[in-house]
Symmetry: C2
Subunit: 232 residues, 2 copies
DNA sequence: GAGTGGTCTAGACCACGGG
DNA sequence: CCGTGGTCTAGACCACTCG
């Protein structure tokens, strides 16, 4: 049994994608659609509401509904734990701590990234089948996450620990292609200046910075897949 | 007036993010929540349904609702038209066609990318404030999009034309960091082998390939921002 | 003012799946 | 079996905004 609101959603989606209803075109109002599909108004409203969330239509009171002019092309980026990313492909994951350093009085650079106050810096390497997969360089705000100080991160990466232990309310990710620094090249076993794929992630709990991570992959062996968002 | 279902959603979201309800913990059933918030059951169902879509909770009949164990970290990638991407920052956009070539009998490489049959290959450059911003190398399937043959793409990029004229039903994107090829380096005004940020996009209409595009940005001046998905 | 979307209620029926 | 989620209906009230 497929739900009526879903069937209606899919039918309308088809009319939009096929071009039957062009961008900018008006869509019948809820009452008419309800009559066409032989359901009540809240049911078509639900289907239309989903299309709004997917960015495919726009609605205004009195003015009615229209197919969105600029189809907002959006994609969803899955950001799994690095361990899962590797093990889900059936490969052997391993983790190695490189450095764990307390920064009691962080310099201006670190403070800009993660705020004043003590911070913990952790560098580590994640490997797949023994080959370097990701070099992680992370700052953790000890004011927000004091428990991090008791973690040695010898057997388990800060990534996994944070996900399990610390809630967060907001995150940003930035993706870039950069030349490998001397250290990154050494850790990843590639040439200095060779392309690396970098994910920079920052998270907050309320207004307090939690952590900032620079996740560096060898460009030659990494690509990130984004699946298109929307039509369920 | 903020909607009740939204207020309830936000309240429950707060309990999850704050850790009041830990991952894996059970959530009261709909009837109890309805009593707590003094609304009817469909209203809490709507709030819970949103949390499911956001990946924050999991629900099973009879078993009830739980906070999701592995918070699926996902981010939404906005993929605007290159023109908008530049003009939205208040910079001057310009476009230049480099090459337009009919491939009546495509070789095996092109066929693998976009299927058998005639194809159109278009190379062009997008600039911001006169500086190279994106080098685009695109294949268009003429069987699916015959109208493309009548376009000269002299004043307007294939990107924009396709968005306006051709619906599609499915798209994939892959992101990678690569060394610039000789041609890419020349077009972008960077050194051969320097890091470039590459977006590879393919779209389909039904089961028929529409287009495949390789969008190449100079790594030094480009980063892609992903905003976190979910709450809000 | 009137037409449209946005939401809520009260009640109902059903499907699923754990005990 | 039967508690839970999943959905739909019929009706209603309101808010917004265009003409």
């Amino acid at each position: 049994m497929t739900a009526k609101h879903r069937a209606i959603h899919d039918e309308l989606l088809g009319r939009i994608l096929s071009g039957t209803w062009a961008p900018g075109a008006a869509i019948p109002n809820e009452v008419d659609l309800a009559r066409e599909f032989e359901v009540t108004r809240p049911t078509v409203a639900r289907a239309l509401g989903e299309l709004v969330k997917e960015g495919l239509i726009e609605r205004r009171r009195r003015a009615g509904s229209r197919v969105a002019e600029r189809q907002s092309r959006e994609a969803v980026l899955s950001i799994p734990l690095v361990r899962r990313e590797i093990e889900d492909e059936g490969r052997v994951y391993a983790y190695r701590l490189i450095e764990r350093e307390m920064l009691a009085k962080p310099g201006p650079l670190v403070r800009a990234l993660i705020g004043p106050g003590a911070a913990l810096r952790v560098k580590c390497l994640h490997t797949a089948e023994g080959a370097p997969w990701q070099f992680e360089d992370r700052l953790i705000n000890l004011a927000t996450v004091p428990a991090a100080e008791r973690q040695d991160f010898r057997d388990r990466g800060p990534n996994e620990w944070l996900v399990d232990a610390i809630p967060f309310s907001r995150a940003t990710q930035a993706l870039s292609a950069e030349p490998a620094s001397a250290e990154e090249a050494r850790r990843l076993g590639i040439a200095e200046g060779a392309p690396v794929f970098v994910v920079t992630r920052r998270t907050w709990l309320g207004d307090d910075p939690v952590t900032q991570a620079r996740l560096v992959h060898p460009g030659a062996s990494y690509r990130l897949i984004a699946r298109d968002r929307g039509p369920g």
